[in-house]
Amino acid sequence: MFEWIRFVLGTGLLCIGAVTFLLEIFGVFKFKYVLNRMHVAAMGDTLGIGASLAGLMILFGFRFVTLKLALVLVFLWCASPVSSHLISRLEYTVDEDLEKFCEMKLQNKER
């Protein structure tokens, strides 16, 4: 019974991760604007990776490999959002017609 629950949970999470990655690939090629594409890619790198690795951890059970997977997850969750943040900040400083694409309070914008 316990084995069955573990199997269903693990494969379910893996499937969620795979679907997220599929959506990510679709979105990266469908969207045209930088921030949209960045958002999609970052979603794949956090939610997709998180779900896939959580599924794998459940499937592996308590072993040394699980700890390694958890460390990989922590590393990716640290690194990926920061890189997305840098891309968005560069876009914010460089793009001159940002107002075309997103609503923003103009008085706060320092150029």
Binding site: C78, A79, H85, L90, T93
Partner: protein, 323 residues
Amino acid sequence: MSRPIPEEEYGKRAGGAFKLWMRGIRDPYLGNVEVAPGAGAEEDEKRLKEYEAEKDQIIRKVYDIEHNRRYRLFRKFYRAAALVCCLTLIVMLLITVAYLPPVGSADNPAHNEVAAKYIEDGMQDTGAVNIVTGMILDYRAFDTFGESNVLFIATCTVLILMRNDKKKGKGSAEEEEKRDSHYEPKSDKILQTMAMVLVPFIILFGVYVILNGHLSPGGGFSGGAIIGAGLILYLNAFGFEKTERFFTAKTYKWISFSALSFYCIAKSYSFYTGAHHLESGIPLGTPGDILSSGLILPLNICVGLVVACTMYAFFALFRKGGF
């Protein structure tokens, strides 16, 4: 009888000029071979407008897909040709695959005595649990030495092309770097905090991969790449002022030089004693210990240092033109 000649005249003679050039006092090519910038063309309002109109017209004519028959034809031909090329390549490769020997067959050309020798005697000969490291740093150490030297030579080439010697004023390295990264986010709090957390672990992991090269997958090349990536992350987060405290061109020079020459001397000794069937006197130790397998551990450290320095030097040279 030789008589003393004044400095001015001495510098004009061939020998004197060569000596001055050797000492780095005078460069005979400086100011002689560079192309001088030509006088800027005068801007003419009328001609500029004519040129713009012509350009617009050409673009309109060329990209007028509805009425341009040749362009349409070309597009069709382009797609058909691309398809034909791809299909030809695919068919050729598939035919080649059909002629490959079956996977796992005992009489494949890959299954010869060399691989069997490595697998059977590898641990005994080299003392390394990781056979790959035993191969690249013991059986084929000369090849790896060449690879490390290739990295060093690549850095030298980039140094020749990208070096910016100017210290102050217009066109100096700092000015150029500031101009290039004018819009880039600088001293970003989020990046700095994350780098402060991540960089020590990345570098520690790189050191672990290098030191465990003979026990587990990894080794000098991969560990050095990890350390180099950590250094580059640190540089991106905190800028050149922080990294130049511990890593300058001088550091790079000395680390690369000492690592490569240690590799050369150690391996020359090992080759010499091996070729003459002498006792080398380097203990192999028990396989599996951290201090084992003779020369492999120090050589791994050398390769790791060279790779890490090369990665960082490439980044710094492309970014600023000096470090």
